[in-house]
Amino acid sequence: MPAWLVTLGWAVLKASLILGFVLFNALFLVWWERKFAARIQSRVGPQRTGRPFGYLQSMADVFKLLSKEDVVPARVDRWMYVLAPIVIFVPAVLVYVVVPFGPNLIVQDLNIGILYVAAVTSFTMIAIVMAGWAANNKYSVVSAMRAAAQLVAYEVPLVLAVIGPVMLAGTLSLQGIVRAQEGLWYIVVQPLGFLVFLTAGMAELNRAPFDLSEAESELVAGYNIEYSGMRWSFFFLAEFSNLVAVSAIATTLFLGGWQAPWFLPAAVKGLIPPVVWFLAKTYFLVTVIMWIRWTLPRVRIDQLLDFGWKFLLPVSLANIALTGLLFPVLVRLGWI
């Protein structure tokens, strides 16, 4: 077998694994979010389809979406309308290329890993603007502009918050950052960075309280207002995929990735495989983000931008300065 065929085969296998993960993930998270939100709101949530816990509800939704008529409204910008769901979905999947699920469970450990993540996720904004503009609807245009302003405002603190772990680990590779946290998770020395990252990440995800671009009470549904059926579900899929991606990156950078907690004895560490640690931490963060979403009201767009530019940005810069000052101390203490 020629070498290129082997490479291609591996690539296809890995790609389908990622895609499978993303799809299964979305199915699970839809169910989980509905049940979780229901419990918060003193309801029971879905329970009919797949008794007694409604675990087949997402499957039913998928079939419903698949069987829906594909409606393209009359006066949309057709090409952009059709392309936008794909453009939003592709980066959502591509992020997973560099996510280290385990010591060997990674598609490609790029040496610019974290930079790659930032670069790929910035495409989400373009997709949202495409969708909002193509729909030929005033609400969706307003929503798209909100999304663009929001992503520009929060991309900066997000990337700056990442710099802390990168400085401590001395590498951009995600696998390298995880390995560097063997002795101590970075959340201990980077609490500020973690909070900034999570906040900015929630804003990037358009999750409440930062879900300005899909504020259903103001903009009805936001940029995806004219979409329905499978096209709409691509936005949904991308949203949940990004949710897990942000949580996974946060886990990687601050919670030690697939590493077991450093304070556990080695015998205990060996019991649970790394990938379980990784997924447990990731879904814990996902649940925290959901919890916040179902608790807080939504901020207003000017407050959102003020918060991003006037609070998160200085804080993340301060965090970098602090990390630089603390770096020699930490080295001397032997913590890193």
């Binding site: 910008d77 952009m80 790029l110 040496n111 610019i112 930079l115 790659y116 930032a118 670069a119 790929v120 910035s122 495409f123 904004m125 373009i126 603007v129 495409m130 503009w133 245009v141 502009m145 663009a148 302003a149 992503l151 520009v152 991309e155 990337v159 951009l172």
Partner: protein, 187 residues
């Protein structure tokens, strides 16, 4: 012809086509999105040259941030221009031809483009390009960091200061008298 060469040619073709569409699109938002495609193709070329850092930065800065700014500029500008009013009437090929020979939309930009190409070509001819040894290049991120904060730290910092001054100036210029009325009322 190696795979890398094929990739380079394909990406170049995409980039040139996208650039062509940027200048010929009827709808300015389409032009902006074609520009994104062109940026992405450039990033791909960086990747074929093993410049991963530049690849990521190209995507992050150009395809992400610059595009957002361009889209903001479009949205803030006059809606009648967005609809293509004030351009040669008609449709299809005739309109395109008329546009190419019009002074404002065709000839002047073409002259500028030719002039720019000539300058670039002469620069290209005049520069003594260092020959890089083939093989796997050193990790580019590290090298760029060393160069930026070592050899060229003074120009780098100067550039930062100039940019900072420009930013402050822009904010001062756009700041309206007294800010928004509503904000003053806020407790």
């Amino acid at each position: 012809m190696t795979g890398l060469q094929i990739a380079f040619l394909a990406l170049s073709a995409v980039m040139l086509f996208a650039a062509w569409k940027v200048v010929t699109s009827d709808i300015i938002v389409h032009a902006a999105l074609w520009m994104v495609l062109s940026f992405v193709a450039v990033a791909g070329i960086f990747l074929t040259l093993h410049a991963e850092f530049l690849f990521a930065v190209q995507l992050l800065v150009y395809a992400g941030a610059i595009t957002a700014l361009v889209i903001f500029a479009i949205m803030l500008s006059d809606i009648r221009e967005l609809r293509g009013e004030g351009e040669p009437a008609g449709a299809g090929l005739g309109r395109r031809v008329r546009r190419l020979v019009s002074r404002r939309l065709g000839l002047a930009p073409a002259a500028v483009a030719v002039g720019f190409a000539a300058v670039m070509y002469s620069v290209y001819r005049a520069t003594p390009w260092p020959g890089l040894p083939p093989g796997d290049p050193a990790p580019s991120t590290l090298a760029i960091g060393r160069e930026l904060f070592g050899t060229y730290v003074v120009p780098f910092e100067l550039a930062s200061i100039v940019l900072l001054v420009a930013m402050v100036g822009a904010i001062v210029l756009t700041l309206r008298e007294g800010g928004r009325e509503k904000e003053e009322k806020r407790p």
